[in-house]
């Protein structure tokens, strides 16, 4: 394949990487106070890797923001901490529990933690005066996201208006905002789930161990396998079982299900996903299941 070299062709992963790095640098250059939103999940960790590359050998020119739902998987928080230490970055934690205590969001006992994250996040953005927030959202995840811009404008209420988006042309991003507004930035917009995994494999990226197959106590509920923990206890008729599982996405423990799997390394995961017949969110995310337009509604309110 010497022709590849002569033609100056970049593989798709290299092209995606180049595009994402361009976005990180553009935001760092044009916004006063950016922040990187990190859940500790694989997508946000891939963002950290790309940001590391974008500014090397300098440190990240922005802090990392994590919304602590109080129901996060300990393995995810551990991975987050390893990355923060590796990058020498500043970590800002916005806690849902604290937001409830301060009356910023209301826990009526019926609202999910996922939903309470929205108010907590918007408050953290406002209190810290962040003008741009990087998120790990990908357009292949969900139909509403397929239409979202890489620079996604949010009004002073943090809301997304899908009918009033700015056109986005070439690689020219418009970062103008008015006081009180902010921009969500999605550097992974053009990546697919499989791209993310290929990149994790290629770069040997350190991700939370719960993505790999392991034995875990689980409870079957609503067609999902939830991890038994302080946050999820068996209800009447349910029982705790020990199964070999892995997680395809990580959110809070009450909503994120796992799948039965023997894929205990990244190559096996890629193999498994390549033949998977159900989307990662459809398989394991209770929060997207409520209605056909569930994601669209949460996005309008200010979800990631």
């Amino acid at each position: 394949m010497t022709t590849m070299q002569m033609e100056y062709r970049l593989s798709q992963l290299d092209q995606l990487e180049a595009e994402s790095i361009h976005i990180f640098r553009e935001v760092a250059a044009e916004f006063e106070k950016p922040v990187l939103m990190c859940s500790g999940g694989k997508d946000s960790i891939v963002m950290l890797r790309l940001a590391e590359k974008a500014f090397y050998p300098a440190k990240l020119p922005f802090p990392i923001l994590q919304v602590d739902t109080g129901f996060d998987f300990p393995e995810v928080l551990e991975a987050r901490d390893r990355w923060v230490a590796r990058l020498g970055a500043r970590l800002v934690v916005a806690s849902v529990d604290e937001a409830i205590r301060r009356g910023i969001v209301v826990d009526d006992g019926r609202t999910s933690r996922n939903r309470l994250q929205i108010g907590t996040l918007l408050n953290a953005i406002e209190e810290n005066g962040f003008t741009a927030a990087f998120g790990g959202g990908r357009r292949d995840e969900e139909k509403a996201r397929a239409k979202e811009r890489i620079y996604s404008h949010r009004d002073e209420f943090g809301q997304w208006d899908p009918k009033n988006q700015r056109p986005e042309l070439w690689n020219l991003y418009n970062g103008r905002i008015r006081p009180g507004e902010h921009m969500r930035i999605f550097p992974l917009s053009n990546w697919t789930e499989l791209d993310v995994w290929h990149y994790i494999a290629r770069e040997r990226i350190d991700i939370p161990t719960i993505y790999y197959a392991h034995d875990r106590n689980v409870i079957a509920r609503d067609g999902m396998l939830l991890s038994a923990s302080h946050a999820v206890q068996p209800r009447d008729g349910e029982k705790i079982e020990r199964r070999r599982v892995r997680f395809r996405t990580v959110g809070d423990m009450t909503l994120t299900g796992c799948v039965e799997s023997d894929a205990d390394n990244v190559e096996k995961i890629i193999e498994e996903i390549s033949v998977a017949r159900v989307t990662e969110r459809g398989a394991t995310r209770g929060d997207d299941r409520f209605s056909e337009a569930a994601m669209e509604d949460r996005k309008k309110e200010g979800y990631f």
Partner: protein
């Protein structure tokens, strides 16, 4: 760049990427075609298909409406039309594809221009029963104006004309004649049925008279690597990296995405607009030095001399550099309700450089149906395209759009609302 690894874990990493934009009228079957490409390449998952099957059944359709797979936002599903650019992804063992799916509806030129701006290939659909419509011509004009190098005309619904060769030949001839007026370096026409799957992924047995490739075969094999300008080296400086740490005390790197040409360590370069010259000491990609950089790589370039370089500057070769100019002659697509007028002031973003611009005059409006030039126009309305002269507060470092789509394009931004209101393609630099 190295020999592709054929180990299982490398599948997907050695592929390249094709970005294409689709256009078609509401009824040309575009969503069905995209649905089929996604479905046949297994980019559609069971839960998505089940949802679509349920809706189709609920509406009493006899077949699964694949168009439902792509109609993303609730308001669109209610209206049954696509209102904005949507991006879709699928991959075959050969390539990864990014589709910019743009609505064909009359008032949405702006979306089509947006989708085409990053496309390597444009896919225009026509209904075999109706032949070339005003809209299909308009889509071809826009793709040509945006210098999308490859165009595919998919003549759809061949099943409804009994796979008739004469129908295809007639449309083929009509479009060939029309295309001579445009800049389309590579044109391919394919008879298909998106609904039945003819010539979409595999060659159709219903049209033995057609000897060309299936649509998927063409998308997988069309040659795009040489579409970019590899002659004129251009690096718009995006960000200056200065770690100020003990390990990298004197490090000063100019980060950016290569917009044209090939850069190598040792190259004599000029920094614009200052005109200082220096030599590339190294090109870095994260923690390793590379031998050459080409588009669209994001790299960090270091120079041998300690000269003043900042964001918005352009690094080029000494004997092949863009000429800094404050007088810009461009085709502008206007994208907002309030019309563009002479004397108006706007912000302009070109590469990594932002300036203010004054609209000197609107020379003519291009009728994208007839290609007629209406001079004597006082303004450009939403979705209109015209030739405009701008005077900028700072020099832009640009090339003609026909030579380089990155250094030849800009956006116009309303300084009060902050909204992107126009897209420009530079004709010439005064």
């Amino acid at each position: 760049m190295t020999t592709p690894n054929t180990a299982p874990e490398a599948v997907g990493t050695g592929m390249d990427l094709l970005r294409f934009a689709t256009a078609g009228s509401v009824d040309d079957g575009k969503s069905t075609l995209i649905g089929r490409l996604l479905y046949d390449s297994k980019a559609i998952f069971e839960d998505q298909l089940e949802a679509v099957e349920a809706v189709s059944e609920g509406r009493g359709y006899e077949y699964t409406d694949l168009a439902l797979l792509t109609d993303g936002l609730r308001s669109e599903r209610e209206q049954g039309i696509t209102i904005d650019v949507a991006y879709r992804y699928f991959a075959t063992p050969k390539r990864k594809f990014i589709i910019a799916d743009t609505p064909g509806h009359v008032q949405y030129t702006r979306n089509m221009v947006t989708g085409a701006s990053t496309a390597d290939l444009g896919l225009v659909l026509v209904d075999a029963r109706k032949g070339l419509s005003e809209q299909s011509r308009r889509h071809a004009v826009l793709l040509s104006l945006l210098r999308v190098p490859h165009l595919v005309l998919a003549v759809n619904k061949m099943d409804l004309v009994d796979y008739d060769e004469a129908t295809f030949t007639r449309i083929h001839a009509e479009f060939t004649a029309f295309a001579t007026k445009l800049n389309i370096p590579d044109l391919t026409m394919i008879p298909i049925s998106a609904l039945k799957g003819d010539n979409v992924v595999s060659r159709s047995e219903n049209m033995p008279w057609y000897e060309g490739p299936s649509l998927m075969h063409h998308l997988e094999n069309v040659h795009v690597a040489s579409d970019r300008d590899l002659v004129s080296a251009r690096l718009p400086v995006q960000y200056v990296i200065r770690p100020k740490s003990d390990d990298f005390h004197d490090f000063r790197g100019y980060a950016g995405q290569i917009a044209g040409g090939v850069m190598k360590p040792g190259d004599e370069v000029i920094v614009l607009p200052s005109g200082f010259t220096s030599k590339i000491s190294s090109i870095e990609l994260f923690d390793r030095e590379i031998a050459e950089a080409f588009p669209p790589m994001s790299v960090t370039v270091r120079l041998t001399d300690d000269i003043d370089v900042s964001r918005g500057d352009m690094i080029a070769r000494v004997n092949n550099a863009p000429k800094p100019s404050q007088d810009i002659d461009a085709m502008v697509c206007w994208m907002t309700n309030k019309p563009l007028r002479q004397g108006q002031k706007l912000a302009v973003k070109h590469t990594t450089r932002t300036a203010r611009a004054l609209v000197k005059d609107i020379q003519y409006r291009l009728d994208i149906n007839t290609l007629h030039r209406d001079s004597d126009v006082g303004e450009l309305a939403l979705n209109e395209i015209g030739r405009v002269r701008l005077r900028t507060t700072a020099p832009l470092l640009c090339d003609p759009y026909a030579r380089n789509r990155t250094t030849g394009s800009f956006i116009l931004v309303d300084e009060v609302t902050g909204v992107t209101v126009g897209a420009g393609m530079i004709n010439d630099v005064a």
